[in-house]
């Protein structure tokens, strides 16, 4: 049985349905990331697991126990808020001890557990300080510490890194991953940042407009996105899409688009059987899969702009009305306005039908 189970969860605010029936299960010890654009309902879903929002419809179970209408505190979950939500009038120690005190734990227990959490997070020297005397990263650690001491069944994180600067964000991301590894705890993490999702998750739930678009491991989502939305959301920079007119004989697909060298891409693929002549097929090409090559050119493009990233160069090229982004290793010797040819391994070409679903 699953450790955390959501069955047809719905949430309505007045007449507006923000979560439109989400079903999902997580195993014990799993790191699950809810990812999606803002307004997709990911935070609301997390808060429903925490018990901070009522469930309008559906069932929520933790360790086979129905907790749909259970008080937040009795669900044995803890949450790290985007704002950290530290009690400003209490010391770091008291912030971490608060939950244990509410649980009427003996004083020596409280002290031991707070000290242990402080040791794990390396915030022992800060225990006497008030939150206002801490830096953003330190506050973040205290917020995580407050979760750890309660030894919850599930850790919930609501965009915990979004208030930190880029460097600290990377550092804390690594620490959260380590923490998950060391504690072996079940964690549910909400973010709009697909890099966080890819690096942290055992499994990613991609949400859009209150519905699950796809659930899978980071690799699955990257390699086999179920639809155009997931394909565009996972991966950075974003996947390039070209809408082509298709011709199919059941084995070989011919896709017509002015960006393709010669105006047509000929692709022998079993997927051709699913395409009828005259269908519109969206071709997805990841920027990192495209390579500058004149040997087997797929695309003929005019270079608009190049961004030097140090180790790699991001190229913005154009063909007709379409802008294609590609990432080339090193610093290719080309100039803006040059005509460039880009190739790709045919296995890395993604195809989607007219309704946006993967072929």
């Amino acid at each position: 049985m699953s450790f955390l189970k959501l069955e047809g969860i719905k949430k309505t605010f007045g007449d507006i349905e923000v979560i439109k029936g989400v079903s999902f299960a997580a195993e014990k010890g799993e790191f699950v990331v809810f990812v999606g654009p803002s307004g997709c309902g990911k935070s609301t879903l997390l808060r429903m697991i925490a018990g901070l929002e009522d469930v309008s419809d559906g069932k929520l179970a933790i360790e086979n126990r129905d907790v749909t209408y259970e008080e937040p505190a009795k669900r044995e979950v803890s949450m790290v808020f985007q704002s950290y939500a530290l009690y400003p009038h209490m010391s770091v120690f008291e912030n971490m001890a608060f939950g244990l005190r509410m649980n009427k734990q003996p004083e020596d227990q409280i002290k031991a557990r707070v000290l242990e959490a402080a040791r794990i997070l390396q915030i022992e020297p800060l225990l006497e300080r008030k939150p206002r005397a801490l830096s953003g990263g330190q506050r973040q650690r205290v917020a995580i510490g407050r979760s750890i001491v309660r030894n919850p069944k599930i850790f919930l994180f609501d965009e915990p890194l979004s208030n930190l600067d880029a460097e600290l964000r990377t550092q804390m991301r690594v620490e959260i991953a380590k923490l998950h590894h060391n504690l072996g705890a079940t964690m549910v993490y909400v973010t709009h940042d697909q890099v966080e999702a890819m690096t942290l998750a055992d499994r990613i739930v991609v949400l859009r407009a209150g519905l699950v678009e796809q659930i899978g491991t980071p690799t699955e989502l990257y390699d086999h996105p179920a639809n155009i939305f997931v394909a565009g959301f996972i991966g950075s920079p974003k996947m390039n899409f070209l809408q082509a007119k298709a011709e199919s004989d059941g084995k070989v697909l011919k896709l017509a688009h002015p960006a393709f060298t010669g105006g047509v891409l000929t692709l022998p693929t079993p997927k051709a059987a699913k395409v009828k002549n005259g269908d519109t097929v969206t071709v997805g090409l990841r920027p990192e899969h495209l390579a500058l090559s004149s040997a087997k050119p797929l695309l003929s493009l005019t270079l608009d702009l190049q961004e030097n990233l140090g180790g790699a160069t991001q190229l913005y090229a154009r063909s007709g009305g379409e802008t294609i982004i590609m990432v080339a290793p090193g610093r290719p010797e080309i100039a803006v306005g040059d005509t460039i040819a880009a190739g790709i391994d045919p296995h890395n070409i993604y195809l989607f039908n007219a309704s946006g679903l993967a072929l």
Partner: protein, 271 residues
Amino acid sequence: MRPSSSILHALGLCAVIIFSMFPFYWMVTASFKTQTDILASPPLWFFMPTLDNYRAIFADSKVIGAVGNSLIVASCTTALAVLLGAPAAYALARFEFRGKGDLWFWFISNRMISPIVLALPVYILAMQARLLDTHLVLILIYLTFNLPIVVWICTDQFKSIPSDLEQAARLDGADQFTIFRKIYLPLGAPGIAVSAIFSFIFSWNELLYALVLTRKNVQTAPVVATSFMSGYELPWGKIMATGTVIVLPVTIFALIVSRHMVRGLTMGATK
């Protein structure tokens, strides 16, 4: 800041301080003058101070009794207003319930009517309830005027406390009352302090209802101070000495409470 602008700043401050403090200064110095010195024209800036006025008012047991009455009434009113007002403000700040808007309006509307309009009805009610000339009647009527202030200020203060804190506490296992006591009260202290000061000062200075609703037993300090202004002479020395004695407790109270009026108490909670 450039030196010239800081000098201007200081001069401006001085002007404001002199303007607001001068009546206070005049009252205190007059309380140490004889009646002749007070009425001297042009005014006397240097004079032989005398304690006669203070001797006179302390010999008159009415003044001490009145200060005592004022203390009882103002403290009870303030305590009750905060005790009742703060939880009400918490409910108004954080809960959604039917009639919330109406309740809020009702609280505020208590301050809309000019007090004198109600003086006669309140007098009749108090008479029928046999509450005239008691501490209770003053406490009750002052509470009606002060509760809205406390609710108003505290609601605003509580609303400014990030609701994430309340939710974090809920997840930590705190019940509603604990959240109020451990999160809202300490973090709302500045608002509570301000509203307590307002409440105390209002009750301490209130004259109209004290005049209407009391006779001999529970006359408050302002009533006694004005009672000197009768007959054929105005004993300015005694009036000023009584005024000085009246101002002292409320100043001390405000100084004590103002320690809690620090801003930025919630700093560091979020972000």
